[in-house]
């Protein structure tokens, strides 16, 4: 089965606080697959994700060279180009952080927030989309009767699923997840893994993980980050 490429990094170098994280790396990620990014802790896996949605620009003391291209529509776009609006990029590339980060608003407000930021109407359509996204992450049944309560009252696992639902609201083509299950218990983690596998058909998933068993269960490919080098590793553990 031929794979189409979604993301290409070309001669990408990145350093943060004087520490080299990527050196001259060129690597491709396949469309609508799950790629796991592994590596020793402190190797800069999480920071690497930030290069893909340009959030690195908001951290001080970092330096980036090279190019990243993503396929939106049928053409590749250089996402670091000035004329490619950063807000548009971040709507196309969703991100979920390691620690759940719901904003101090109601559950409903949290999920609908990205739509509001994009300046879209907060009408019946929005309600339907919120419901769909919450259903996708399996949270609808748990919160449908208390959408107006604060998102901070949810448990850690629920909060993380809420954050994924929020990231899904804009139907991103790429989803970046930074160790999304590391702060959750076993059961909540399993639910999120299942969710990622379900998402695979609709978007390209890059997940940073340090649980080898998790990687084996869900990933289609593995990228290892070590000493500034990034190597693709094929999966050999498939039965």
């Amino acid at each position: 089965m031929a794979e189409t490429v979604k993301i290409k990094t070309r001669n990408l170098s990145f350093s943060y606080n004087g520490k080299r994280i990527l050196r001259n790396t060129s690597i491709d990620f396949a469309e609508n697959k799950i790629a796991a990014i592994v590596g020793p802790s402190g190797s800069g896996k999480s920071t690497f994700l930030l290069t893909l949605n340009r959030l690195w620009e908001s951290i001080p003391n970092c330096n980036l060279e090279g190019r990243v291209e993503m396929k939106f529509g049928n053409t590749f776009h250089d996402i670091y180009q000035k004329k490619y609006p950063v807000t548009r990029l971040r709507r196309q590339v969703g991100m979920v952080f390691q620690a759940p980060n719901p904003l101090p608003m109601s559950i409903y407000k949290n999920v609908v927030f990205p739509l509001e930021l994009a300046g879209r109407k907060d009408g019946e359509d929005a309600r339907i989309m919120v419901e769909q996204c919450l259903k996708k992450v399996g949270l609808w049944g748990e919160v449908c009767d208390r959408l107006d309560t604060s998102a901070l009252s949810l448990s850690g696992g629920q909060q993380q699923r809420l954050c994924i639902a929020r990231a899904m609201m804009l139907q991103p083509e790429v989803l970046l997840l930074d160790e999304p299950t590391s702060s959750l218990d076993h059961k909540a983690a399993a639910a999120i893994e299942e969710l990622l596998v379900d998402l695979k058909g609709q978007c390209t998933v890059l997940v940073v993980s340090h649980y080898l068993d998790q990687v084996q269960r869900i990933a289609d490919s593995i990228v290892e980050l070590q000493d500034g080098d990034m190597k693709g590793r094929s999966l050999v553990f498939a039965a």
Binding site: T87, R91, F97, A99, N101, L103, F113, L117, A167, L170
Partner: protein
């Protein structure tokens, strides 16, 4: 020797604590004992019926009403000028400025915060003279000029509290909305400002207190001992702190002096309520905002 120091330090600290408490209790107690008798409607309204005073039907001659109105309008105007500019500059400093620009602006605002208020007052006066000569001969020291000068005085505090409140937010919160496609401004307005609001408000309240108590700036920019309720922005006005200063050197009889005590108690009350409010809103008020020159 070491043993001796270890013994003497606690003793010394108790002494200091008690001296300070006694001193401040002495100051405030004396003020209250001397002044509480003069408190009352007569202190504020003199012989004019309060309702007539409020409706401006009759002027108040021997009461503090004009001074209180003067102080309130002064503070209101000054804060109105200072808040938008101060908050905008604070936001710029925290969220936009980088590298050299930020360092230089930082230095300027530190210098400005350190300026003695009499220097700011002198500046306000110089600007008035400048305007009088070059723009219109009708411009004299007045309520408007004073409020602008006071706004300059508290501007650095408002800039700082805004900046510090924003910079104190965790990086993860800063990235949340950005990752969802928020623009820089959306992130500031929708997420960062609401989250740092308590810090900013407490800073603004402290700035109000500073405006209310300042004497040196207004002394040089238009306050007078007797002017009645200010009629317009361009008229001279009375203010509580200046009244207190004026009475202390110019009183003619004990009765007039008593109104000075009364005015001092009222001013003290206003300032302490404001400070209490600021501390209530934010448990630990930033030390920098307590500093005043």
């Amino acid at each position: 020797m070491r043993k001796f120091v270890e013994k003497i330090v606690p003793l010394f600290s108790w002494m200091c604590g008690i001296v300070l408490l006694v001193a401040i209790a002495g100051v405030l107690g004396y003020l209250f004992l001397k002044g509480y008798r003069s408190l009352g409607l007569k202190l504020i309204f003199g012989t004019t019926p309060p309702l007539d005073a409020f409706l401006m039907r009759r002027p108040v001659f021997n009461g503090l009403f004009p001074a209180i109105v003067g102080t309130f309008s002064l503070v209101f105007l000054a804060i109105c000028w200072a808040i938008p500019v101060g908050m905008a500059a604070g936001i710029y400093l925290a969220e936009y400025a980088q590298g050299k620009t930020k360092q230089i602006l930082d230095l300027f605002f530190d210098v400005m915060a350190g300026l003695p208020s009499v220097v700011v007052g002198l500046f306000g006066f110089s600007v008035t003279v400048f305007l009088n000569r070059n723009l219109s001969g009708r411009i004299y020291p007045c309520l408007f000029i004073s409020s602008i000068a006071l706004a300059f005085l508290v501007l650095p505090y408002i800039i700082r509290t805004t900046q510090i409140a924003l910079e104190g937010l965790p990086g993860s919160l800063r990235m949340t909305a950005l990752a969802l496609g928020a623009s820089r401004l959306q992130n500031i307005v929708r997420v960062l400002l609401p989250q740092s609001l308590s810090g900013i408000i407490s800073g603004v309240i402290l700035a109000i207190g500073r405006c209310a108590e300042d004497t040196a700036v207004i002394m040089l920019t238009g306050v007078v001992a007797s002017a009645g309720v200010p009629r317009s922005l361009l008229s001279p006005y009375e203010a509580l702190p200046f009244y207190i200063y004026y009475i202390s050197s110019q009183y003619v009889d004990q009765e007039e002096l008593a109104t000075g005590y009364g005015a001092a108690i009222i001013l003290l009350f206003i300032c302490l309520v404001l400070f209490g409010l600021a501390f209530l809103i934010k448990k630990r008020v930033n030390l920098y905002s307590l500093y005043r020159a």
